[in-house]
């Protein structure tokens, strides 16, 4: 029974994807999440399913980390499904959207229960590619461009991951995650895995796909992208590179540096945005910096790793639900205009993300800080500053929403609203079931400081250009930056002109190559020369080489 439930997590969304063209298909997305939700709540830890005949041998199973991942991911997918069903007809209530949604769901929930590298990779790939359809869904030129960029990064990431998996399988002699716990990965593998999963986690520099994708995709899609799917990168690191290996200590330090850069890179860029979705996107990059920092710490200090990992998973769950709810709330605003109670709900979410007392954010942050080892004092400072920047980001988000020109208020679909409110209630209640009071009251200082700063920022908005203020730079500094940017643009243009002159030479060579190797097309245009002699001499040349090679026998 339990084993069947694990299998259904994969199979049901896939099967339902095949049916999603039918008339009764509206509710399929909700049904498809259920096995994962039920499994997360009822299936005992340690359940495994082994299918040795499938692919190169598939192993599914549920462990402690997987269970929490499964729980928050399935809750978010459920909320997003309900939200999507409530959307107006014809837009995202379409077969195409449902198919991609279900495929991405199968991949995301499936990879969580995967216990071998290949099934994880299968889920990861399915999720990544199906999300392309979600991003491209609006079919505008902008969406297509964003989707293309997303796809290029995703495929590059998957290829890097694939190479890492093959090398790891060679080194460990098998595909199961169990074997990886006793394998020392080579530096190349670690690098490949950091980059491969880093693309999904939008590490600074590898994040270029994220902002535009979040800006164009339909709200429920962005909710699962930013909440559930992005976390697959974290799970990947946990599964493929379990802390405890001495070889990872050095890399842990590297990852901590990357994480710190990510935190501030995301925060600063987020503050510069005018569009709420872009702001939230960069906030995700910043929060993923926190997770990266945590993984780095777990690698660098193996003794603290178990506590750190559970803290990180809680943090991931908190971020997933809150960020998903924020995007769904934005979706409500975009559809029906800002209502006071939506603004209040978003305000609550913003407080939770900023780690205000009595919210899930406070719980997650206090768990993370207490699980850090004593050597990591400096990290505490970093996390404190990070919390401060989050407060500023959230203040700006609420401010931006408040500033938005009032839209004609359209009626809200009951179901979407209901989904959102349920998610809100869940976020509000969960911390009280889990934590003791001291954890819930941490983080008040950063919040207070942040709120004061935010108030000052809003106060001063008349006097300084908005961007300069948010960035904390003078207008002069901005002018300098702009001039430097201008110079780079000029330089690139000059290079383009150069390459155009080079291009004409290249074209001549290319054309002659083309004529030589494609006589078919060229004969059809009836002007080319005969290329048989060339092909013939190539052919005979290969023969001569082959004969020579055969005679080289020792």
């Amino acid at each position: 029974m339990n084993a069947a439930m694990l299998l259904l997590i994969w199979l049901l969304p896939l099967l339902l994807a095949a049916l999603s063209g039918q008339r009764y298909a509206r509710w399929l997305t909700v049904i498809a999440v259920l096995p994962a939700l039920i499994a997360a709540l009822t299936v005992p830890i340690g359940t495994t399913v082994s299918l040795p005949w499938l692919l190169l041998g598939v192993e599914l199973g549920l462990d402690k980390t997987g269970r929490l991942f499964l729980l928050f991911s399935s809750l978010l997918w459920l909320a997003a499904s309900l939200f999507a069903i409530g959307s107006p007809k014809g837009n995202i209530d379409s077969t195409r959207f449902r198919v991609f949604f279900l495929l991405a769901m199968a991949g995301n929930l499936g990879l969580i229960v995967a216990q071998d590298m290949l099934s994880f990779y299968l889920g990861f790939t399915l999720m990544g590619l199906a999300a392309y359809g979600l991003v491209a869904h609006p079919a505008s030129l902008r969406a297509r461009r964003a989707a293309r960029r997303y796809l290029a990064w995703t495929i590059a990431g998957e290829l890097i991951l694939f190479s890492a998996i093959v090398i790891l399988a060679q080194q460990s002699g098998g595909l199961s995650f169990q074997m990886l716990k006793t394998t020392t990965p080579s530096d190349l593998v670690v690098l490949l895995l950091i980059v491969g999963f880093g693309i999904k986690l939008a590490l600074p520099g590898l994040h270029l796909w994220l902002p535009q994708a979040y800006a164009v995709a339909p709200a429920p899609a962005v909710a699962v992208l930013s909440g559930a799917m992005i976390k697959a990168g974290l799970l990947g690191w946990l599964r493929f590179l379990p802390p405890g290996d001495a070889a990872l200590i050095g890399w842990g330090e590297v990852l901590m540096v990357v994480g710190v850069i990510g935190i501030f890179f995301g925060a600063i860029n987020g503050l510069l945005q005018r569009h709420p979705r872009l702001l939230l996107g960069y906030s995700s990059i910043s929060k993923m910096g926190v997770l990266t920092l945590g993984i780095g710490a777990a690698w660098a200090w193996p003794a603290a790793a178990p506590a750190l990992i559970s803290a990180l998973v809680i943090y991931a769950a908190h971020h997933a639900l809150v960020k998903g709810a924020l995007f769904l709330g934005l979706g409500l605003v975009e559809r029906g205009g800002l209502r006071p109670w939506i603004w209040a709900g978003l305000g609550f979410l913003a407080l939770a993300l900023a780690g205000a007392p009595l919210t899930s954010g406070a719980l997650a942050k206090s768990m993370l800080t207490t699980s850090l080892p004593d050597q990591a004092h400096s990290l505490l400072t970093v996390l404190g500053v990070a919390a401060f920047t989050t407060v500023a980001l959230m203040a700006r988000l609420l401010y931006l929403l408040w500033q938005q020109p009032a839209k004609p208020v359209a009626p809200h679909a009951m179901l979407s609203m209901l989904a959102w409110l349920l998610l809100l209630a869940l976020i509000a209640l969960v911390p009280f079931t889990q934590a003791d009071a001291s954890q819930l009251f941490s983080g008040g200082v950063a919040l207070l400081l942040g709120l004061i700063a935010a108030a000052l920022v809003v106060q001063n908005k008349q006097r300084l250009p908005e961007l300069a203020k948010a960035q904390g730079r003078s207008p002069k500094a901005r002018r300098y930056l702009r001039a430097r940017w201008h110079r780079i643009v000029l330089l690139m243009r000059a290079m383009q002109t150069r390459s155009r002159t080079l291009g004409s030479t290249r074209r001549v060579i290319e054309n002659s190559m083309h004529d030589a190797l494609q006589p078919g097309q060229q004969l059809q245009s009836k002007k080319g020369t005969d290329s048989w002699p060339l092909i013939g001499s190539l052919w005979l040349g290969i023969g001569a080489l082959l004969l020579g090679a055969l005679m080289m026998m020792t």
Partner: protein, 95 residues
């Protein structure tokens, strides 16, 4: 008698080389088809030379069977090539 066998074999090789050269270098379609036929004849000569087993001995039947089958194949291939070529030139008289 050895010389006869070598005569056949060498002229077979010569025909083969000549045919190959024409097939690759001559742009005209008909010439190319004929060149491949010449190549075929070269191979058949070679096979006949191989069949020779010495004075007074009956020749090896297997290469002979190969030649016979080969001829049938060559004839049908040539017929197909000519049919296609005719279709091509009928549509495009200047080609």
């Amino acid at each position: 008698m050895l010389t006869t066998q070598w005569l056949y074999a060498l002229s077979g090789c010569l025909l083969l080389a000549l045919g190959l050269r024409s097939a690759l270098l001559h742009p005209a379609l008909l010439q190319r088809i004929l060149a491949i036929n010449v190549m075929g004849s070269g191979v058949f000569m070679l096979l006949i030379a191989i069949a020779y087993r010495g004075p007074g001995m009956p020749p090896d039947p297997i290469p002979h069977a190969l030649v016979l089958t080969g001829i049938v194949v060559a004839v049908s291939a040539t017929a197909l090539a000519l049919a296609l070529a005719r279709r091509l030139t009928r549509e495009q008289p200047h080609d």
